[in-house]
Amino acid sequence: MEKIPILRMGSLLLVTIQVDLYDRLAENLEADLVQTINKTGAKGVLIDISAVSIIDSFMGRIIGNIATMSKILDAETVVVGMQPAVAITLVELGLPLKGVLSALNVEKGIELLTRKIADDKEPEDADDGDSE
């Protein structure tokens, strides 16, 4: 059975989708990823979809689900490397992937995640500044 590997890099999880997605594979990834976040206490998930040429409503929904579930488990999700044609198709399909963070490439994605995680760590300091 095919499986999409989930790599751990410090407090981040890295997923690179290199194969053509079909529904079952995407559903399994969703379940695996949520379990891995739970097990490792990861704070961020980076999904690289630069090799994915087709995202339809089902896979789009799975990506949205992953982002929402991670959020509940206190982890941020960033989707990186979406092909322009895929972005155009998703919006016309009516699935703008609201609530999913995205970045142009892996490097920028990691930057964004690191910043997000750092921001989350100091909410108290921010409160002190505002309460004057």
């Binding site: 053509d20 079909y22 339809d56 929904r61 399909l93």
Partner: protein, 128 residues
């Protein structure tokens, strides 16, 4: 091509991609028709347990295009108008499948008879 399992959709998508490239479609239009096909194939699997998909290269004047026909012998759709509405779904999905697909292709036709099955025909012109 017969589509009875989820994994059958992948070779079908690849075959369609070959045709789309042969016709000379832009990458964006290739992506649109393949995404549309993926939606329709899923519908066929989910609601009718599978069916047949036909790929044809067609031309009108100087314009080339691809015609896809999805034929299933499933339960049929009682209210096609309602099924074409954004956000309507009898399954547990977003209800984007049919209306979204219609937006991705040039021409869209659906014929359905309750108890007999559903036939969906879509056309994507090379520059459409």
């Amino acid at each position: 091509m017969t589509i009875t399992r989820e994994v059958d959709v992948i070779p079908f998508r690849n075959r369609l991609k070959e045709y789309a490239v042969k016709v000379g479609m832009s990458l964006v239009n290739q992506t649109k028709i393949i995404t549309a096909a993926s939606e329709l194939a899923r519908n066929m699997l989910k609601y009718a347990g599978g069916g047949n998909a036909v790929i044809e290269v067609i031309s009108k004047g100087r314009e080339n295009g691809i015609k896809l026909i999805f034929i299933d012998k499933g339960p049929g759709i009682p209210d096609v108008k309602l099924a074409m509405k954004d956000g309507f779904s009898t399954g547990k999905s977003l209800g984007l499948g049919l209306p979204g697909t219609k937006r991705l292709v040039s021409e869209f036709d659906i014929q359905s008879e309750v108890g007999k099955g559903t036939t969906v025909t879509v056309i994507k012109w090379k520059n459409g």
